[in-house]
Amino acid sequence: MKAKVSRGPEKKETAPQANIITVFFTSVRTTITLLFLLALCAILGTVIPQGEMADVSAGAGHSFVSRIAVILDLNNVYRSWWFTGLLVLLAMNILGCLLKRMPLIISEWKGDQKKRSFFLTLTDSRSPDELKKLFSERLKAIMKCAPKQTNSASGSELSWERQKIYLLGFPLIHIAIIVILIGGLIGVFFGFRGHVQIKVNEKSSTYALLSTGEVKTLPFTIAVDAFTLTRYPTGEPKEFRSDIRLIDQSGHELKGSIRVNHPITFDGISLYQSDYRIVGISKVSISIQSEDGPAETISVNPMEPLITTKGSGMEIKIRGFDPGSSQRGAGIEVVVSAKDGKPSTIRLYENDTAPVKIGGVKLGFKGYEPTYATGLQVGYDPGSRVVWIGSIMLIFGFILTLFTNIQRLNIELIRENDKTRITVSGRSKRMRKEFRESVESTVKDALKTS
């Protein structure tokens, strides 16, 4: 204590403080606390509706609660400053713990560490050389390798070592977590995710950011040639496919199709099939039945606005289309005008069975061919590769920790008078009891043989 007091006054103030910080970042207690804290905060994010700030601020006005919600980013927990902060703290804490433990791991790797989990002392009348041969042979069954021999003035020593690679498991797992967290941060700062909706036969080179809705420009143009929706016989969707061409600024073109689970990557930017929308119709089937004549179904292109019926000379014009959200299905709005009458507007629905009667004819909406717009997700994440490297490291770390086991065994043979003193010591990271028992029984059995 006195030595500390004799230090300069500046050091006296900073030393304990630095100490607290060091302890904070190198303590596993901090890791456990951070893990549980992060778990609690993550729960908060699944309970509070996320990304609905507009409603909250509009509803609650400038109340205290809503102000707190804004400061704490409660509608966007996972991207909030404090959640990111906790993740950064976790990464720093893991790094601290790792740095603190690395010297130990390195010394154990080099074999400097003499920590042993069990000792066994025996004596035998045979000479050290005889015993050396005996043990080398017998312990091969457990250690699966030949021992290293060292001779000193007082005696000799046999040492075995197996699966040292186990020691890499711990650093690998923890570096992996740090690498994954860094990859995540790279994605947050340098990546983007957006959405673009393009009608069939149209082009686009912009997209809207998912986070803010801001419109951005792509380094290439997406031209959509077709969108196909296939269904199973049961009616469930089987496949969504967009046939597209990607054209970069130099005119280079890539033709391909995007399906769910089958994205296309171009210029480092990936395009994913996300959704689709019916934006119009390309062909409409309308049934027309005059008072005396039979019903006839005609297919028309809505772009050609006029249909003239044969018998009555009525003009029918399609004015609007509604993809349909009600039980009645899709609907069209048509303007019907008799030869010399006033035009009237009616709505026809796909699922209505009875035709609508107007001006002496019955009209029915029989079906249509939709025009689609495909919804594509646009994504760029330079951090994802880092995350995958971290993931692979994590898997290897787990494999090493679970399926390998460092085992060390030393037998010291010292000749004393007419006897040899045998000191067996060993260390096993896992399955300690089993290792000790098998070594002890093998050594004792070996000594029993003459």
Binding site: T31, Y78, T234, V260, N261, I395
Partner: protein, 272 residues
Amino acid sequence: MDSVDLNSYLAFGYLGWIIAYLITSLSGRAALTAKKTLFWTLVLLFVIHTAAIGLRWAESYWMGIGHAPLSNLYESLVFFAWTILLALLLVWRKFRNDVIVFVGMPIVFIVMASTFLIDSQIRPLIPALQSNWLVAHVFTCFLGYAGFAVSFVAAVLLLIVRSWENPPSFFPKKALLDEIVYRSILVGFPLLSLGIITGAAWADHAWGAYWSWDPKETWSLITWMVYAGFLHARLTRGWSGGKTAILSVIGFAAVMFTYFGVNYLPGLHSYF
């Protein structure tokens, strides 16, 4: 007989096995041969369960919409029961203890019985699930869950034994239960990690984002954090016995919420 019938019979089979175990134990015929018969009966039920999953797989191909039977709640429940049973059989073999298997079997029965209540039809695979990642992702996640289920059973038993002054002699010892609580998490944790990684790889491939903070993803991460906390508390802080048993129970509650509770929150995993 189709796979759905087979699964129903299996549920009754498991109930029958539980009753048979009770009768054998209560009648004092807890001889080694009786236990051996019970073990092999359970192995036989497991083989039939495996066959039922295989049959359902084949049935989907006969219908022309072939896919692995891991595509909806019904199929995942049948598979969940299969993984728990597998884990229980491994525990029986490794730790030579059948009380824990007996206590775990009602979970297998309840999971199988709950399939009576839900739609068991084989449906075609929706585009989002048409991926080779499906099998790897579901397989690893559920094997991890099974490890956690076994840990949970051992933890509950441990908490009960701790509250008794003189636990009956046939009960597993506290040290053994503590070991099972820990060892099953040691196996389950890397499997869950692998499940999360395969899920992230799939999400990246299908949606362009390896992580979207969708409720199921978030809750699997919460589960992962609880078990990571468990392992660190045990390995470096020397926690054991009651404290880690409680953590194991909390972890399994998180697993259950990840599996079922999340369905009540909106998200991308709505098909499970």
